[in-house]
Symmetry: C2
Subunit: 260 residues, 2 copies
């Protein structure tokens, strides 16, 4: 039987609130067995751009990662946020190892091809992007990898990738060696049947349920790509995907996704 591996992903909504972040990290620190944390960004880089008087470049409502933005997200995600998380986890007895995808060549991406829009220095991942063997070696050394969403193209260029995508890709790659539980943690207790009602958490969603919920419009907006990533991960061998509140990862109320 494969050993269990828990992979947690936290996003900007938690990272931007220091006490929430520390609350999550304390709960994360007591999870037993091998584990990995993937973190997203936060508002820091955008706020710094504003303070420097640089307007973010947007196309169709989406941020373009130009060279200045890449520098700033690298500084915030791989520098400040990653190292603050690592130092806090160390203080709680977790031997955290902060990593970008460039470190140890853990994640190699391809710069998104320019079609109608040039998204800039954004990295797309493929099946071969993640070095599961080296992550396994780190886990064997009792280390807890803490991955930021910066990776590289193998030719010296850093790239920025959506953290949900990174978490799902890492989960898929490690599911050959581990029974992986992938946890998407955010500011709600799960997928809601009614966005206005925080208590309307759907306990379980199968792939068939998902198709219905999507067509009915109950699952929409930002939740769609998250669930697409989740079901993709399940189809590639991840055992379970859980969507839960970052401050209640030990609680009972959450959404579990499975294929059937």
């Amino acid at each position: 039987m494969k050993p269990e591996l828990n992979i947690f992903k936290i996003g900007g909504g938690i990272i931007d609130h220091e006490l929430d972040l520390q609350g999550f990290l304390r709960q994360f620190s007591v999870i037993s067995g091998p584990k990995i944390l993937v973190h997203g960004g936060g508002k820091g880089a955008s706020e710094m751009l504003t303070r420097l008087g640089i307007a973010p470049r947007m196309v169709d409502g989406r941020r373009i990662t130009d060279a200045v933005t890449l520098d700033l997200v690298t500084m915030f995600y791989a520098g400040k946020t990653n190292k603050q998380i690592v130092a806090y986890l160390q203080s709680k007895g977790v031997n955290a190892l902060g990593l970008s995808g460039a470190d140890g060549n853990i994640i190699k991406a391809v710069k998104r091809p320019v079609r109608e829009v040039d998204y800039g220095f954004v990295g797309d991942l493929s099946e071969k992007s993640v070095d599961a063997e080296l992550l396994h070696q780190f886990l064997q050394l009792q280390l807890t990898p803490v991955l930021c969403p910066i990776n590289h193209d193998g030719h010296g260029q850093l790239l920025n990738t959506n953290a949900d995508t990174i978490a799902a890709s890492v989960a898929k790659a490690l599911s050959k060696k581990y029974a992986v539980k992938l946890h998407f943690c955010f500011e709600k207790r799960g997928v809601l049947a009614d966005v206005a009602d925080g208590d309307s958490v759907i306990a379980k969603i199968t792939l068939a349920d998902y198709v219905v919920l999507k067509e009915s419009g109950i699952i929409a907006d930002g939740m769609l790509p998250k669930l697409e990533n989740a079901f993709d991960a399940l189809q590639f061998g991840v055992e379970k995907v859980i969507i839960e509140h970052a401050l209640q990862i030990n609680g009972d109320v959450k959404t579990t996704l499975c294929l059937t």
Copy 2:
């Protein structure tokens, strides 16, 4: 016989010039056998403070690492500089692993005690600061650690330490397992007998020579702490310390320091 390990330290004078940095990294990439790179800062953090309209706090000509400064040096040293170096080395076939001292608890420091001056978030190192065993494990995995000068106190606080001190401490800690050659690389070809003459490189300096050169004033200013670190490292088991030009690490003209 212990295996050879080369540890290189580069400072801000190289980091601030992209072509010089890449020139050094290309030479570093072809050094065979296990190796470690320690890098200092550069002007980026200071320039950003200026752009943000924050005056650096200085006491007796020395920068105070207050909370804002710590954030910025963490962003630049552990984020931008470290990841750019790692990505470049990856493109040259070196499996670089960027690390702060917090990562894997590689270097645990103590915040400098407040005496006449409060230097802020500056970390002092002791004999027990460096986890040589984990660095050895990384080297066994064919990884090349790239250390930035940010570390932590084990209680969740990041700290900033002089990169020469980090290089010397890492060299000392690893000298139990390896025959360590410690290279301090900068913009001159070695220790100069006449600062005005770049060709006046002293080929070899023993501890006895050093005492004479220091008393005569030939070695002064910034070179003094570098050589103090160097002889300290030699006294704690480091085999050889070399002071050389960052762009001529394969050259013949350099200063070699040894005890006798």
